[in-house]
Subunit: 431 residues, 4 copies
């Protein structure tokens, strides 16, 4: 089993966080899975991910005080393994865990994923809970000085055989449930420790080993960002995707910043290895945060986002409530030409970047496709030119190309390609 | 009540840590108190301090793995307040706490102190323990992201009224027991947080307020060091002493380093406010650490230590087992001339310091005493000179002075005072 | 000779910088000296300081490009010593240097000071200029990797005998001219070197030694700030004053920030040793910067500034053009009661400080005077109270005190003193 | 002209630094060029590089005081462009510059390179030297606050048209001389500025532009290291090679460290873009440093060095005196199988790395070659295994392979390849 085979292309799917925060329920997940099966699946969207604190009783009930209620009840089995909150996930009762929900998702021809926090529940350590396959208890496995800066649920796991046994035990359970994808948080950048932000290194290795042992091809996704470029080799060896940014929301400055993040990571996209630009904050978000809102990005900015994510080769995870997607947003998410760029076979490369503009290309050696995108980073319309000599393709024979989004013409004269691009917008085409 | 009156001179006493680590018992404390009363009290030694983890069941029993056993049982009352381990402190049973032991110490004409960790027990927070005087529980007071880097017992307390109530409740209990001195740890420098090493600032203020409310003049001592010079004003406003070094042991490099630490803090010694050079690692130490040893400092280095601590005005806490003190060490600890310098009325001042030597003076405006000490920081004997013009006293009339330790002559010629000083040794005298 | 006798009280005077930048001329200096002699001298103002680049040909002539023109002509004598620009200082011709101007200032009963940059002119090093009293040249003394971040004139001087000879040679020249005060720049904090901001340490010592050798009591003032608290002992041993802030201008946020800077340094004010809050940006400033302006502080803020500087014991240097002082500003600068606090005999102490207010006191043990100041740091009027128990004076018998600025009543009831204080303003009085 | 065509394979050659420091002469260069033509050229070695301070009069003459004599005479033409020291490079007289020497090297079928420092001579700026093609002078181009931490010759050049003109003028001169390769120093990592170590970014761009304008395909090599991984894209866009380490010498710890440096940069090797592991300190070094020595690496370590450099794809520059190469070292430098790995077509990849061992592979998609190397990082002999499943090649059919260095057998069983590897040594082979 080679972990790079688990995700031969960058995963595409939906994640509960941007809309539900910690409050998502079984019904919510099913509703979104239904929508995906009906409307998105044929374009490649397939993952349905339950994000943070599905195991926490009363999650979200004290949102004015806490995002994550400290010292609250976490559902667990006799082996210190977290279980879904039965109030929110009724089918999980009687020891079923997420199996019924995973089955439902699978039944739709989709894949099922869950979020976990690095470590073992603090409650288990303080209660001296048992650990499957060992005769020592959670208190011997938990490292009391390894915590998360922003979530109070877990202690880090020590780098010992018993620690590995704990990770084996949870992955084995998730594999039994039919989990296809794990987003492990507080591990890609352990920002509690500014002088040691890769303090969970051994836990990444333990997760990878546990997945290998489980025999199930579970995609391993690491959060939060920004990932540490000096550990790129390690991410690639053990994980399938890793967040290259802190949480991304629907704000132009964050989107603009993604250009240099993609520059930084462009060499690290390959089959089974995906730097992750984070969820797409398109559509309607925020219910679990206490107020719903529609994406604050302009339509041109939304196109810029999808174009960059796709030409770069990032995973694509929709963060909003799918059934609330409007026609225009849905159109963006189902543009087959744009989505066709999002494959590790198309090697991404930034040709140029200034404060004013960015130009990217991606060349697919297998198909011969050569994609190019012109991005306007300024606040007003602007003509952007690219010399063919700067691109991998030295010259072009055609005298125009068609923008994937609008069908507009992009001019070319053999040596130079150019187009007028709207503020914060882009043109993307094949040369 | 003014906290500066609680300790009009720098406290002198004994602390259980260097010999017992976490394992000290009631009998041990009494034995040391007895010795102090019999042999040291008349020289000013009066504090008897029970150091870390008196509340922890089985403390020290897994010393090969842990100094502080994580997730172990901590004795507590119904209000989440720590109580002495009844195995080690039998008199504490039946709700007596440290009262009987404090009474015993008081009966000897001595004062009684205890060590505490900043915060509220993690166990209490996870168990949702009660808090005296509030209707909320420990989980609302504990900050799950505020921990100690090196000890797993506590969570920091939030800066709220309920947090103040918790500190009030523990100080009230300690006052009832008759505690005269509290050494609060993980608060002077919260080294878990390299970018926020004064993260317990509000807890210092809460402790001070709780002491004021208690009506008992309890000396407040803050650890660990190094204290942060940029917060000197705050230490002085709320505490009586604060550690200016990380743990000091019996090694010359650490002792030599103390010279610049004292330089840094010399302006901050005043009635009730004492920068603290840490315990004196003289005599026999280490039983609780698994192996006893005798102080590794030479006799000259030991004199240098006591001279610096006294002329600077540091508190003096003997770290070793008192009944095991040999004659020579006892002599050092009972040199009345040297000890007479240790008063905030004698203002310390470093006259000069190089890699080779240091010269200090202390002038007592009330008594007119003018102390001077010559320190040899090199590895061989050396003549050290000081120009009177550099000292507060412009010239001297006598042609010689007597060293407090040996009675040797120190030469003077009106303008210059000089003496041959042994390697790592000193001369100290009155001019 | 003891350097602490050179300035038994914090120096008060005028400095050319805030009004003239690099462009001040002999006539300008005389005009300000005349004004001082006529209007300010009797209140203690006595220093007349010529600030930066008096030696630079064409200083200020390319102000739109540079504050300090790089690679420009610097007037020098045959020994690599800078001389006044003869265009701007005509009396300096024929080798007179600043002697005639110093004589003029002395003739008014005032004192004369100059600004210098740390080091030796880069031009001298590249030209292999001679050094008085040595047979080596400037290129052997200059350290080519020691430069100033913001001024291109000098290289640092190496820590060698020849380096000392150079400093001896310039101080000897300045002493011959009759210089009473030297403000040495790029030395208190060598901010070119963020990891070694005290890289000019040896040059401070060399300056002090050169002054001692010169036999003239020249006050040594170090810039720029912020001074480094961990080197407080060293500043005090070798200098008379050192800047505790970067350049201060007439903006409330900078003034507000001075409260914590004074808190940090309050223990370091003593005879001959003055933490320096920087020049007073009152009156009219800016001509040399290309546009004149009147002080942007409100009248209450100006009172706050003078009160803090005086109760703290900072030197006072007026930065504006003296003949342009209006009546109101002049009144501030000549309030004898306020100025009477500015003596090292009155020990400053911050009693309290929050985001909302600050309370200071200063007690003069020699005279028994006890000053107190209440500062309102908020943007609206506010009643400020101080408990007598927090002050050195435990209680007060009077039932009111008079504000030094307005004569308004401050109320007292034995235990508590209180007053309504305007936004950003203060009350200051004797208790 | 595309800069990536200037060096389609990683440059191989000789550099004067390790043996001559600053003292190399024309005769020395010729002697090494002769040796290379006779003995090394047929294996691909072709560059002859004159390293630092060929322009400095008396370079190396005060080696006990300075490596680079400050404020010394630098030969320059009327346009502030450095010229070879005519004493050391006699053929450069009469305005010939390096042309005669370049011609000599070219006549041997080799290529000629020189070292330069970032910037414009400080002497030129202070002398207000002319700049070709502009009407302003060197003092307007030089930035007086941009210096090198370790060499006193230059000031950085401002990012202006006139600055570009200066770079154009020097590159034009070098192109006229026939220079094929420029090693620009103090630019890859401007370590004077710890908070801005890429402060010469614009100067890299200016050099690239000047080379493009010159019409001559001059290889651009950037020093010193370590290069900054976050600027990888920029190095690749503008330069041909960049040092990924500080100066490398013949010490095992430095060599061992190179493993993680290669890990960090493995994705950044491509045609015309080469992370540079620095010169090979093999053979005899040190004459210019005052004492000759033979390489301190063991023979196994030397093989490890060459194997890593080649499988990674680093440029190869011999640092020692070529005519002094012994037979054994020469054999290392002329192993054709090992050298055949050093092509950007063979994509390097670290398969595994621990404290004990490292395993690398390189796959050449064009030729189908698949290289593999096993490195023993420990101090004793050790069996190293690699699973085929970890390599790009999933399994192997052969049951043994031959080590490129010794011809020894490496065992394989279809799934696992393994060999006993000597301490600090390696096995390298084709699978």
């Amino acid at each position: 089993m080679n972990k790079n085979d688990f995700a031969p292309v960058p995963p595409m799917g939906w994640n509960s966080y941007d809309y539900y925060d910690t409050t998502v329920t079984e019904a919510d997940v099913k509703r979104n899975a239904d929508y995906m099966a009906d409307n998105l699946k044929r374009y490649g969207w397939e993952y349905v991910i339950v994000d943070i604190e599905w195991y926490a009783a009363g999650a979200g009930s004290r949102r004015n005080e806490y995002q994550y209620i400290p010292f609250s009840k976490l559902y667990m089995d006799e082996y210190s393994r977290l279980l879904p909150d039965p109030e929110r996930f009724p089918s999980s009762k009687d020891g079923n865990g997420f199996k019924p929900l995973a089955d439902y998702v699978h039944g739709k021809g989709l894949k099922f994923g869950i979020h976990i926090m690095r470590g073992i529940p603090r409650n288990a350590a303080h209660a001296h809970g048992r650990v499957l396959g060992t005769d020592i208890d959670a208190s011997d496995i938990a490292d009391p000085s390894s915590i998360c800066r922003w979530n109070p649920d877990m202690y880090g796991v020590r780098n010992t055989d018993a620690g590995q046994a704990y990770y084996d035990s949870i992955i084995s359970l998730y594999a039994d449930w039919g989990v296809d994808y794990i987003k492990c948080d507080d591990i890609c950048n352990t920002n509690m420790y500014p002088h040691d932000p890769y303090s969970g290194r051994h836990e990444i290795e333990m997760l990878a080993e546990a997945i290998e042992k489980s025999g199930r091809p579970i995609v391993l996704s690491l959060s939060p960002g920004p990932a540490l470029i000096e550990h790129a080799w390690h991410y690639e060896k053990y994980a399938n995707m890793w967040r290259i940014t802190d949480d991304l929301w629907d704000q132009w400055p964050l989107l603009k910043e993604m250009f240099w993040r993609c520059e930084l990571w462009e060499k690290h996209v390959s089959r089974g290895c995906y730097p992750d630009c984070d969820m797409l904050p398109l559509g309607v978000m925020g219910k679990g945060f206490g107020h719903e809102w529609k994406c604050n990005l302009t339509y041109d900015e939304q196109k810029t986002m999808l174009t960059l994510w796709c030409i770069f080769g990032s995973p694509l995870m929709i963060g909003s409530e799918l059934p609330l997607l409007d026609r225009a947003t849905l159109k963006l998410l189902t543009n087959e030409k744009v989505l066709s760029m999002q494959t590790p076979d198309a090697k991404p490369h930034q040709i140029n970047r200034t404060d004013l503009e960015a130009v990217w290309e991606a060349v697919n050696d297998k198909t011969g496709e050569h994609f190019m995108a012109l991005f306007n980073l300024t606040d007003s319309e602007r003509r952007i030119e690219v010399l063919c000599s700067e691109a991998s393709k030295k010259s072009v024979e055609q005298d125009s190309f068609k923008d994937f989004w609008t069908g507009d013409q992009i001019e070319a004269d053999g040596e130079v390609i150019s187009a007028v691009v709207p503020a914060h917008g882009c043109k993307v085409f094949m040369v």
